[in-house]
Amino acid sequence: MISLRDLTKTFPGGVRALDGIDLTIGDGEFFALLGPSGCGKTTLLRTIAGLETPTTGTIAINTTDVTTRQPGERDVAMVFQDYAIFPHMSVADNIAYPLRIKKIAKAERLAKAREVATRLSLGDLLERRPSQLSGGQQQRVALARAIACHPTAFLFDEPLSNLDARLRLEARTFLKRLQRELAVTTVFVTHDQAEALALADRIAVMDHGRMIQVGTPAEIFQRPATPFVASFIGSTPMNLLPGKVTGGALHVAGAVLPAGALPDGSEILYGMRPEYADLALDEREDGFPGTVAVLENLGTATLVTLEARDRLIQVLVPEGDEPPIGSRAWAVPRQRRALLYADDTLVG
C-alpha cells in the first residue's frame, strides 16, 4: 500500500510540479498516472521513489513513513523509460545488481537472476551484453532486475514507450499478466491513454500537478469528470460542442436535444465520443448537421469528419457505411452516452 498525503513539490524558480496530491494505492493494485507532458506524473513517481524530495506532505509505504528516507531504503524498484541497463555488465550481472548491493553471495544472486530470467524468457541470454539485445529483450532485463530484489512496489516510468507499436501491444499484455501473477503494488506513468485504460486497475488523470480524476478505466472512460479528461481519454478525440438551454430544450450546433433537468439559460459543453454517435443522411432534428469533409480509414471503422458552420464534428461509422465526400449528413448522438459539462464539471 502506498499512501500520499497532501504532497506538494515546488521546484526552484517557482514551478509547482505537484499540488496537494492525496492518494492511496492499494496492495497489489496496478495504478496508472496519466496526463500530458509536464503534468507532474513523472515528478510524482520520482517523489514516491525518493529521487525527488516533496516540499510538503508525506509518503507512506505499507504504513511506514518513508518521506525522508533515501531511495535505497524504500524497498521499491523502478524501471526507467530508457531501461538504464548497465552496458558493461552481462544480462545476469545486470539482473543481480540490486542483490549484489544487498551483499548477497554470488552463487545465490546468480541463481536468483537465472530464475527470474527464465521466467521472462531471458534464460538463454544471461551471458550476453546489453548491446546484443533487442529493445524488447532490454525492456525485460530491466523488468527482471526490478523483480529480482522482491520490492514492495514497482515504479514504471513509461516502460513501453521505447518499443515499436506492435511490440508494445505484446509487451502490454505480458506486463499485465506478470503484474497479476506477482501481485506487487505497481505505479506506472504513461502519456498514452490506451495503455492506461488497458493496463491499470485504477487511473489518476493529472494536469498541472493536480489529480483531476481518479477511478477505474471504465469510470474514466464513461464518465470523465471534466472536459479536459474527456478530451484526453479515448483513441479518437471527443467532440466538445458549446450549447445553451432555451425553452426547455438544449440547442447545440444546430441540433435540438432534450434538456433534462437543466434550467433555462444554462450554458453547457456537450461531449460526444465519435464512437457513440450514428451518421444519418436524412435530416434529423436531434442530429448535428454538417458536410462530409474527411474520411479516415481506421480498418474496421472509418472516422468521418463533418464540417459544420464554425466547427468540425467527428463520427465513427462501421466499414462499408462511409458517406460520399461533400454530402450532407447528420451526426446523431446515442441516448445516455452524451456528457454535459457546465463550468468544467460534469452535470449530466
Binding site: Q70, E73, I101, Q132
Partner: protein
Amino acid sequence: MTTDAAGLGKARASAFVLPALALIAVFLIFPALWTIYLGLTDYRLTGLAAAQPRLVGVDNYTGALADTRFHTSLWLTVLFVGGSAIAGQAVLGFTIAWILRSRRGPVRRLVEGVVLLSWILPSSVVAFLWIALLDRSGGTLNALLGTPGFAWLLDYPMLSIIVFNTWRGTAFSMMLYSAALENVPPSHLETARLAGASVPQQLRDVVFPLLRRHILTNLLLISLWTFNDFTPFLLTAGGPEGRSEILPVYVYNVALRGGSLGAGAAISFLILLINLIMALAYLRLLRGRRRSQEAAAGGPPA
C-alpha cells in the same frame, strides 16, 4: 568501393598533404634526429668542443643511465607526475566535476572561472604569484598560517611544486570530466541509488565503467604534459641541492647551465623514449579495452 572519396587522384592528394608533411619534417622529425646525433657527440656550449664536436659513441647515454643524479631526477619526475597529475589534477578535477555536475548558476560559474583562470594565466605570472605566496619573509601563506620565516620552497620543494602544478592544471581534467559526466545517463545513477548503492559504489559500478576511455585519455595527456613540464624551474630552479630537479629541469641544468649540450641531448632523447613508452602503454590499455568490448559484441545479434 573506392578509397578515393574526394576524387583528387594520388598526385593532387599528395600535393595537399605535402606542406603539412614538410612542416612536420622540419620542426619535428629533423630536431628529433638532430637530438640523437648531438647525443652521440661531446658538443658543448662553449670552448673547444663547441667549435669542433667529436663523436663519442654512446658514452653520453651510458653515462646518463649510470648517473645517480639521473636516477634521482627520474624518481622525482615520477613523484611529480604521480602526485600532481594523477593524484592531484585528475582526482581533484574529477571531484570538482562530480560535485558541480548537477549544479547550475553562480556557484558553478565562480568555481569554473577560478579554476580556469589558474590554467590560462602565463606560467611566469603564475610562478611569481606562487613565490609571493610561499616566500620565506613576507609570504602570504606564512602570514595566513602565522608561521613567519618558514621556508616552504627550501624545506618542502617537491611538495611545493606538486601543489603548484595541481593548482595550475586541474582545470583541464575538470572540464574533460565535466563533459564526460554529461554523458552518464541520470537513470543509470538513479537505478543504482534505488538499489541502495552508496556514492563510491555508484562511481565504481556506473560512472567509472562508462568513463573509462575519458579517464585513460585524460591520464595520458596530463601525464605527458606534466612529465615534460618546465614551469617548476621558475619556483625552485631544481633546488635546493637538486631535491626538486625533475627531468626537464635536469636537462636544462646539464645542457645550458653546465654547458654539456651533448649529454643534455642524450638525456632529452631518453626522455623522448620514456614518453613514447608511456603513450604506447596507455594506447594499449585503451585498445585492449576496445578489443574486449568488440569481442563481447561480436556474437550473433538477437
